[in-house]
């Protein structure tokens, strides 16, 4: 009898953690591959509005315009009014042209004529600012725009 009872008293072997590094490395490589380092630092607040009739943005042919209230650390110097940011710096409505041409110059030459201007505007901004931007874009003949939104039902907000 004692033959059998001996075996039962054995404790569970500890879980082997030898494969833990492998698992972690796998995750690590996944995140390394999908990571895109932000090339611009956001200086304005960005709570995008919701919409559900949306299309995908073609990244290779787009230039970004950010607009919204300056974020916390810039409030002191730039005030509380809606501001425009292109690239890394705040821009005035009258300077959009220059900043956009510069941004467009960085795109693939074949796609420069098909440029799409992506407007990332905080949902708390006044439409007046957006209208000013659009007027300027018409003058620059960059008429293809896309209002970047998050997906969701606008009726709920």
């Amino acid at each position: 009898m004692s033959k059998f009872t001996k075996k039962k008293s054995n404790e569970l072997p500890p879980v082997s953690t030898a494969s833990l590094p492998d698992i972690v490395f796998m995750l690590l490589f996944f995140f390394m591959v999908v990571t895109v380092m932000r090339d611009t630092e956001l200086k304005v607040e960005q709570n995008l509005p919701k919409a559900n009739q949306i299309e995908k943005l073609k990244k290779d042919r787009s230039v970004f315009i950010f607009a919204g209230k300056p974020s916390m650390q810039y409030k002191k110097n730039f005030g509380d009014e809606g501001r425009i940011q292109i690239g890394d710096k705040f821009t005035d409505v009258s300077n959009i042209g220059l900043a956009l041409t510069e941004a467009r110059g960085k795109l693939n030459p074949e796609l420069q004529s098909k440029v799409v201007v992506a407007l990332k505007v905080d949902d708390d901004t006044n439409t007046g600012l957006v209208t000013d931007i659009k007027e300027k874009l018409r003058e620059l003949n960059m008429v293809k725009i896309i209002y970047i939104t998050t997906s969701g039902d606008p009726l709920e907000q």
Binding site: E55, K56, T131, S151
Partner: protein, 205 residues
């Protein structure tokens, strides 16, 4: 000298190092997915030609004031009703069957006080400068939804697929089958229900 076997490297801390890197990448990762409502702005027209007159019944005027309230064709409206009203307006097909503007694919009420034909119908949105961007996008979204609904219905009837689905697949490059043929069909649907969304200059003040 006697050859000593090299001591084995302790790999026990490997997991910690990997964890550290993993957490760094987890924190810096922003999975970017930019979606939005695409729109084409009208080019600046310098010519002095008078714009063609649009009949009042072919106009669907949406006004948004600075308190984010809607006024549609002179009566106040909630955002929830906007889509339905826009669909009714576009799909009305009020032209008589004898006239050249008769719309044989419309399924609306055929009221004579509303639009003649979807190709004639124009939706005009006018914002106050102080309207919030959130409201502006919501209104645009509802109006695009009205167009998408009608385009989907039409493409279902003619070709048996949804306009928006096929357009999305073609944009993503995952469309299986004859792409140029599908492009032509999309164009045809767009001809039947052209997106005529006009945005007037917002009022100052």
């Amino acid at each position: 000298m006697a050859r000593r076997s090299a001591p084995e490297v302790n790999a026990g801390s490997m997991a910690d190092i990997a964890f550290l890197l993993l957490i760094f990448f987890l924190v810096t990762t922003t999975l970017e997915k930019d979606n939005g409502i695409a729109r084409q702005l009208p080019p600046i027209d310098k010519s002095e030609i008078e714009p063609p007159k649009i009949k009042e019944k072919n106009l669907f005027i949406v006004l948004v004031n600075k308190n984010d309230q809607l006024l549609v064709n002179d009566s106040p409206m909630e955002l929830e009703e906007l889509r339905e009203n826009a669909i009714d307006f576009l799909d009305n097909g009020g032209a008589l069957s004898s006239s050249p503007e008769y719309c044989d694919y419309c399924k609306g009420n055929r009221s004579i006080t509303s639009s003649d034909n979807p190709t004639k119908a124009v939706i005009s949105v006018q914002n106050d400068r102080l309207t919030s961007y959130k409201m502006y996008i919501s209104v645009q979204n509802e109006l695009v939804a009205a167009y998408n609904f009608l385009r989907n219905r039409e493409s279902q009837r003619l070709y048996g697929w949804d306009f928006t689905d096929v357009k999305k697949e073609i944009d993503a490059g995952t469309y299986l089958g004859n792409q140029s043929d599908a492009q032509d069909k999309l164009k045809e649907i767009q001809r039947l229900f052209p997106l005529k969304l006009s945005e007037a200059q917002p009022k100052k003040n």
